[in-house]
Each structure stands twice: as C-alpha cells, then as structure tokens.
C-alpha cells in the first residue's frame, strides 16, 4: 500500500513538473505571436493629433524596443511570479480582479457544457452500440455531422433564439465531436476477436459492453475527455459573446477589441493552463489505470 502511494506521489510530482516546465514555454509562444503580429508596434496614441511628431517617434521607439519576445516573456513571468498581472487598458482595473470576477461564470458554463455534451455523446454512442441498428447509427452520424458544420457562434444564436443557456450551446458544440470519437473507440473495442467470439457464445451485449469493450477503451476515452476540455475552452469565446454571458470568453473578446494585451495574455495563459491541466489529469488517470492492471 505504502509503495503504491509512493509510486503515485512520484507520478503526480513528475506530471506537475512537466506542467510547470510547459507554462513558461506557452508564455513564450504567446509573446512570440504578439511580437510577430504586423500591428504590434502600432499604438492608438499615435493617431492622437495632440501628440507631437517627437512624442509619436518616442512611442514608436518604445514599442519597437519591447518587441523581443524573450524580453517580453521574461518581464511578464517576473510580474506573474510577484502576483502582478498588470492593468487592463480597456477597463482601467487590475487584471487579477477582472479575472476573479468572471472565472466562476466561465467555470460553470464549461462544466455544464462538458457534462451535458458528454452525457449526450456517451449515451448515444452506447445506445448505438447496444442497438446495432443501421438506422440509429446513421441518424446519429447525420445529426453529429450536421452539428459539426455549424459555427459555434451560430449555435449560440440558435440557442438564444430558443431562450437557452450558454451551457446548452456548449453541450451542442461538445456532443458531436465527442460522439464521433467515442463511437469510433467503442466500435474498435467491439470488433476485437475475443469480443466477437464471446458474443457468438451468447454473452449479452450489455455485459460485453461493460466487461469487454469499456475497459480497453477507457484510456482513449480519458484522452478524448482532455481534448474536449480544450474544445470547450476554445468555444467559450463566441458563445459567451453571443449569449451575453459575463465570463472570461467575453472578457477576452472585449480585450481583443480594445487591444488590451495584458488582459488577453493572462486569459490565454489561464485557458492554456486549464487545458494542459486537464490533459495532465487524463495522463495520470491512464498511468494509474495501467499500473492497477499490471
């Protein structure tokens, strides 16, 4: 028991270290994107006629000097380590305060959307697998293909027309993607020779699903779960904007419109950290599962 706990602690520490190493690299990637963008050194103040030519030149020079992504990233991480995330230029308030006010709304939407999407997707995939009816699988495939073709912002509009919530729109975004992966993974597991021979021997479909199809498919389903978190976080921006939900997605949109780099950079890092955390948890689960089996 003590040995198992020790091994598990080691795995958790390793995953945490990997995650800690990743975050500065993600920050560097984000800073590189910013510095590569063609309008990085343009400043709204340069259009202000009250600024003299020399002031405009000084502004331009200052912007150019901060273009090095390594310098930008180091400065940002130093501030982050001190708990100073900068001030939002759009809202004129500290970034941390703005994020603190809104993260719960986004968290609720993401959890609700993921929960709804997964219940629908996993339920449909299991049902299609148990029924083995071409009509059911064809209908589910047609529905999911149709849903995948709709931009998430448009799904938000449809949900608003039906007086629905952001969670419902997010579930509609997650459901088709998760269904397509889940049904494929379960179908692969069901096509294994030992499952087929068990079925021929008269084992019921439900028992086969529970004892022969689900366990081997579980690691892949965990990976899909981690990927679905990333999908949900990416979809949160258009959905919160369309559905007028005051969360981090809407904040990121407002920051983009207002060229509010400190705010947008932190929201991007926070979202990436959340996606990476979900992925790390899925990896941990897979490893723990593999160890418990061996």
């Amino acid at each position: 028991m003590r040995r198992t706990l020790w091994t598990l602690a080691k795995v958790v520490c390793r995953t945490a270290a990997r995650l800690a190493l990743r975050l500065p690299l993600i920050a560097l990637f984000a800073c590189t994107l910013l510095s590569l963008a063609p309008g990085f050194d343009s400043d709204e103040r340069r259009l202000d006629l009250r600024f003299s030519a020399s002031s405009v030149a000084a502004l331009h020079h200052a912007q150019k000097a901060s273009r090095n992504p390594l310098v930008m990233c180091a400065g940002y991480l130093k501030g982050l380590a001190r708990g100073d995330l900068g001030e939002s230029t759009t809202f004129g308030a500290p970034v941390l305060g703005l994020v603190r006010e809104r993260w719960a709304t986004t968290g609720r939407s993401v959890l609700g959307g993921l929960g709804g999407g997964w219940i629908l997707a996993a339920g449909s995939a299991v049902l299609v697998m148990l029924l083995r009816s071409p009509a059911a699988s064809g209908g589910a495939a047609a529905l999911t293909t149709a849903l995948i073709c709709i931009p998430s912002a448009l799904l938000g509009v449809i949900v608003m027309l039906l007086d629905g919530l952001v969670e419902a729109a997010l579930a509609a975004v997650i459901f088709p993607r998760v269904y397509q992966y889940t049904s494929r993974v379960l179908a692969q597991a069901a096509a294994a020779p030992h499952v087929r021979s068990a079925e021929a021997a008269g084992v019921t479909r439900w028992r086969l699903f529970w004892f022969a199809c689900l366990p081997p498919a579980f690691p892949e389903l965990l990976a899909v779960a981690a990927a679905s978190v990333s999908m949900a976080l990416a979809s949160v921006v258009p959905l919160e904007v369309i559905c007028d939900s005051p969360g981090l997605g809407q904040l990121a949109w407002k920051a983009t419109l207002g060229r509010d780099v400190p705010l947008l950079l932190f929201v991007t890092l926070a979202m990436t950290a959340a996606a990476n955390l979900a992925s790390a948890v899925a990896d941990l689960g897979t490893e723990a599962l593999a160890r418990s089996r061996s």
């Binding site: 990743r22 690299l25 993600i26 990637f29 984000a30 994107l33 910013l34 590569l36 963008a37 063609p38 309008g39 990085f40 343009s42 709204e44 259009l47 293909t145 149709a146 995948i148 073709c149 709709i150 931009p151 998430s152 912002a153 448009l154 509009v157 608003m160 027309l161 975004v173 993607r177 397509q180 990927a227 990333s230 999908m231 976080l233 990416a234 979809s235 921006v237 258009p238 904007v241 369309i242 990121a252 949109w253 920051a255 983009t256 419109l257 060229r259 509010d260 780099v261 947008l264 950079l265 929201v267 991007t268 979202m271 990436t272 996606a275 990476n276 992925s279």
Partner: protein, 271 residues
Amino acid sequence: MKTVRGTCLAAVLGVYACAIGAGPLTGGSYELQDRAHAGERPGAVHWLGTDDLGRDRLVRLLYGARTSLVLAPAAALLATAIATFLGSAAALAGGRFERAALYLVDVVASTPWFFALLLMRSVLPLNVDPAVSVSITFAILGLLGWPHGVRPVAARSAAVIRSEFMRQARASGIGRMRLLRAHMVPNLMPVVAAHFWATLPVFILAEANLSLLGLGVAEPLPSLGNLMSEFRDHRAIAERPWLLAPAVLLIGMIAALQVISKKGTTSHDCT
C-alpha cells in the same frame, strides 16, 4: 455513397464557379448602394432583398462566398505546407532534435486555438484596407493551423525513411532529389492531403466565428462570416428569415466538404 460524394462534389464545384464568377454573373459590385431600396424584402429585382445600406444581399453573398471559399483553401495550404516541412524535417533529423521539435509542437498545440487567434488579432494595425485585413485574417489562420499536422507527417516520414524500399533505393545509388520525388512525396501525400482536408472546414468555420464577432474580415468586403454578423440581433432572424442565406450556404458547403473528405481525415479542434 459514391453518388452522394459525386453530388456533393458537383455542388461544391457549382458554388465555387458562382463565387469566382460573382462579378460577371451579377454585373454589380458588393459595394453598390441602392439607397432608394434600402432594407427591402426579397423581390424580382433583389432576389434576397437588400441590407440597411441598400446593398444587394445576393451579390454580397456570392462575393462573400468567394472571399471565404477561395482564401480558406489558401490558408489550409499554408498550414499544410508548414506542417509538412516541420514534420519531415524533424523525422529526417531524428534523435534528440525530433523529440525536442515534437515537444515544442505539443506545447503550441496545447494552446486553445481561438485564444491564439485572438492574441494575434488583437495587435493588428489600426487603419488597414479591407483587402489587407482579409489577407491578414486568413494568413493568421494558416500560420496557426499547422500543429496538429506535424506529428502524423513526422511519423509517416520516419516510417518511409526507415522502410526497406528506401534502403534499397539508397543502396542502388538513386540521388536524393529522385528519392524525394519518387518515394517520399508519393508516400507522404495521403497524410498531407488528410491534414489539408481536415483543416479546410476548420478554417472556414474559424473565419465565420471571428467575423461574426467582428474580428475577422472588415466591411465593406463581404465574407460568409461577416454577412452573418447581423445574427447578433437574433430577433431579426425571426422577422427576416432570408438573412439565414449565408448560414445555409456555409453549413451546406462544410457538410459537402465533410462528405467529400470523409475518407482518411482526422478532424481537430473544429470550433
């Protein structure tokens, strides 16, 4: 299935033909304003009605389709080229370089795509021409859409490099260029094509999402996305259902592209 795929291909080609020939087909410009008939319902003159500025909706739809459907494949090509270059370079270098390159690719791929798009979009120049804005929007899509394609290309490249037939070809003294042309490229094509077909609908949808939020193609240039920006006032759709035309065209095109590319594609973060 073959008939369905053939029908979808014909529909896609038809839409492309109409979109590319939008100018001669409509005989008008997407900017042309008929102020006397602003906000009109569909009729004999304006088949899809006019917008609040008196611009013909059908003309704008065709020009918008041209913007989205011509530039999205260009962006998908750019993303595929970057993925192919990085993937094959990593596989050719092998060892630590390959591991380091693929780790960095994983780091980039773990960033939610839409946020990376917003980051780059947030610092675009302030006063840009609509033509420049549309080029930048699709260039950003192309420059950020490559990470998911690198691993499959690297894996396929490594398999081809270590294959028996490549060893035999090298032993027979075949030159590097010929090896690349006769063995590498044909064997990489299925993976590269799969990435292209998987990213194409993703880019069309991403442009639609960005433009619907007012962050994509700038007015007066139409695109399927910014034509849908009127949907933000969702009550307008119930009163004027013909506003849905760009959405119907977009969904139809994506569905047709999905059917055409069904074989061997792997879709990723398709928001």
